[in-house]
């Protein structure tokens, strides 16, 4: 018996001659007919008030993080910033649903999720600041580098989860992707590997309606992106990505299912990118203000506030505490990013290989000589 043996249960006979039935029942794999919601539904009352407070707090802090990062960009302190404004419910719950030993595989848009896991904003944003590639220690933070080549992080998550499972370690991997990323071959290959290997991995697709300028209708003709799950033999879930308690419930369930040997899940979170793709993008070229305005009404913080107010949970103290924490974070970011980063040109050669080749040593010497000559000129 190996951990791969799930593949052989009851599967083979279905493909012998004369077989008529599918190998597994597709019914339970089909996504929810309507996006899962907690806010504004009876489920809200059954939700732990402490969790709701935690989510609220994190949403407020997350929004402030997005604002501050955007401001830093305008000040030229970040080279580029792909904001997750409007998507904060996805971001914070992605971090919250994981245990410490679990791994997160974020994309470029998911720095808030990284920060929510406890990584310092300065480290989480190093790549986008432009002074170094990855600013945090992926092993220490159990967070893979921010991934730019779309969907390529998805198979990494599968491999890590698979390796953990082989080791009998209950670690789960969570891969974060965008709606556009689901079109890439790597998305497909990762989901198929995950299902075949029964790997403890969760794929969270933040469907924010656009891949830069391309709307979802030009990206996919699927009933929902969650329906893609069926074709891999894993369950698909559809959830309101701006409903933080719903996100938390669906993510937690999938993560714990993976942890307990239940295999992978694909989650589609319906959300919206309120800002442009990045500060370099001009969203007015491809969408109307009315659309944005409609989504601003469906803002994750607004929804959360409304829901908590209904329950009488949104007291002044909580609001104040959240605002204070948000301002503290913003102040820390301003301070950290005010300082010029220390740059070491020689670091360019330090990590190409474990040991630099002879050629790299020569090139490093050349650069060192150039820097020395420059320094001389400046003195």
């Amino acid at each position: 018996m190996t951990v791969l043996d799930h593949r052989h249960t009851a599967a083979v006979p279905g493909w012998l001659p004369g077989a008529t039935a599918p190998r597994t029942d597709p019914e339970p794999l089909l996504p929810d007919a309507a996006p899962v919601r907690v806010l504004g539904t009876p489920a809200l009352e059954k939700t732990d008030p402490a969790l709701l407070r935690e989510l609220y707090r994190r949403l407020v802090v997350g929004r402030r993080y997005n604002q501050q990062a955007t401001t830093l960009t305008k000040q030229g302190r970040l080279a580029v910033y792909p904001a997750s404004t409007g998507q904060e419910a996805c971001q914070i719950t992605a971090a919250l649903a994981l245990q410490q030993q679990d791994w997160l595989f974020p994309s470029y848009r998911d720095t808030l999720a990284v920060v929510s896991r406890g990584v310092d904003p300065l480290e989480a944003l190093t790549l986008l600041r432009g002074n170094a590639h990855t600013g945090y220690d992926p092993k220490a933070s159990r967070t893979a580098p921010l991934c730019t080549p779309l969907a390529t992080q998805a198979p990494h998550a599968v491999g890590l989860a698979h390796a953990a499972r082989l080791a009998g370690d209950p670690t789960v991997a969570l891969a974060m992707l965008g709606d556009g990323g689901t079109s890439e071959g790597d998305f497909h290959e990762a989901l198929n590997f995950a299902a075949v290997l029964h790997a403890p991995v969760v794929f969270l697709v933040q469907n924010n309606g656009y891949a830069i300028s391309v709307p979802l209708t030009q990206q996919s003709a699927a009933p929902t992106l969650a329906h893609k799950a069926v074709g891999y033999g894993m369950p698909g879930r559809l959830v309101d990505g701006n409903d933080a308690p719903a996100m938390h419930a669906v993510l937690t369930e999938a993560v714990e299912r993976a942890r307990s040997g239940g295999g992978p899940t694909l989650i589609e979170a319906l959300t919206y990118r309120v800002e442009a793709h990045t500060n370099a993008d001009d969203a007015t070229r491809y969408r109307h203000e009315e659309e944005v305005a409609a989504w601003r009404e469906h803002d994750p913080i607004l929804l959360m506030e409304r829901g908590m107010r209904e329950l009488g949970l949104l007291d002044d103290q909580l609001v104040q505490d959240a605002a204070d924490e948000a301002e503290a974070l913003a102040a820390r970011m301003r301070a950290e990013f005010h300082a010029e980063p220390e740059l070491d040109p020689m670091s360019l050669f330090a990590h190409v290989y474990a040991e630099p080749t002879q050629q790299l040593r020569e090139q490093a010497a050349q650069l060192a000589a150039e820097l020395a000559a420059e320094a001389e000129v400046h003195h």
Binding site: L127, N131, L150, S213, Q219, R285, L348, Q363, L367, A373
Partner: protein, 336 residues
């Protein structure tokens, strides 16, 4: 390769390279209804570099198609369209994002004419914004030309001037063979005067941008301006440098390159891609073989280091600059 039809329009204009490329696409689509532009965000957005700006408005979303986000799918679909008789112009958003399409490129685009004994030529132009120097974060500044130049069946073209951006793109689209058209990102916004009515030169011809008698700097695309600058600066050191702009890496204009190398006897190849196995290796090896007894010194190379592309704040250390070029020129064994 056929030559694009000559244009009848007006006089000289001043524009950026980005605008010249846009004009080339526009004119090509207008001249030939089989020309179809496709890629990620090429439609309403006009591409992240705006090279396809206005094409959807003028020619409709079928002629300038916003595709799903999948580069192998884009190139594979373009292959099928070319098989049907269209002339697709594909945009890859950045060099590193062309990598998912490598199998379609290597195994089909480059080989289809040969695989079918000439029955299925693929007149596809693959536009790739290439190289660094624009402060892009990782994966946005690769210089990947060597992967293409080594692949038999592809033409590899890269303009370094506004005029060439127009002319070479028209010629590439008109070519009956696949062309990887490398657009130097950092030259997109440089302006100069050019004549859109100038006859379109065929691809495959290098051009001497500066004539000098001491040595020649051989370069292409993004590195041309820095070479011209270096040549200016070299005057102070007493060197009178030629600068050769290859314009097309495949086919390689051996004749012109050999002629200039033989006449000056000293050469430095300059490009920003990683040096090891870079296009400069082929150029140096080939010119050495053909011009050996005319060489007073080995053909030297000034290239990017053998490292992954650096983060934006360090990229200037990686890119060949004037000093590094002059340093190489100084090592051309002048004492001999």
């Amino acid at each position: 390769m056929t030559t694009a039809p000559a244009r009848s329009a007006a006089a000289t204009r001043t524009s950026t390279m980005a605008q010249a490329l846009n004009t080339a696409l526009h004119d090509a689509m207008k001249a030939d209804p089989t020309v179809h532009v496709m890629g990620e965000d090429v439609g309403q957005l006009g591409g992240v570099f705006r090279i396809t700006d206005g094409l959807t408005a003028e020619f409709g979303p079928e002629r300038c198609l916003d595709t799903p986000l999948a580069e192998a799918g884009i190139l594979g679909t373009a292959i099928g369209m070319a098989m049907y008789g269209l002339r697709p112009v594909v945009e890859m958003q950045f060099d590193a994002f062309a990598y998912p399409a490598m199998e379609q490129l290597f195994s089909h685009v480059a080989k289809m004419r040969n695989r079918t004994a000439g029955k299925l030529p693929l007149p596809i132009t693959i536009r790739v914004p290439f190289g660094g120097g624009i402060g892009g974060v990782e994966h946005h500044s690769d210089a990947s030309e060597a992967y293409y130049t080594h692949t038999a069946g592809l033409h590899v073209v890269t303009p370094a001037t506004v005029a060439d951006a127009y002319g070479l793109l028209r010629a590439s689209i008109a070519s009956d063979d696949p062309v990887v058209f490398l657009e130097p990102k950092r030259l997109y916004w440089g302006k100069s005067e050019w004549d859109p009515t100038a006859p379109v030169e065929p691809i495959g011809k290098a051009v001497l941008r500066r004539t000098g008698r001491s040595a020649v700097l051989i370069t292409y695309g993004p590195s041309l301006p820095v070479c011209l600058e270096a040549a200016e600066a070299a005057k102070a050191e007493g060197w009178d440098l030629s600068v050769l702009d290859l314009r097309t890496l495949v086919p390689f204009d051996e004749e012109t390159a050999c002629e200039v190398v033989r006449s000056v006897g000293r050469a430095v190849v300059v490009h920003e891609a990683t040096g090891f196995g870079g296009a400069g290796a082929e150029i140096a090896a080939r010119l050495t073989e053909k011009c050996f007894h005319h060489l007073a010194a080995p053909v030297l190379r000034v290239t990017g280091f053998d490292i992954p592309y650096p983060p934006p704040m360090l990229e200037h250390h990686h890119l060949p600059g004037v000093d590094r070029i002059l340093d190489a020129v100084a090592r051309l064994q002048w004492e001999d």
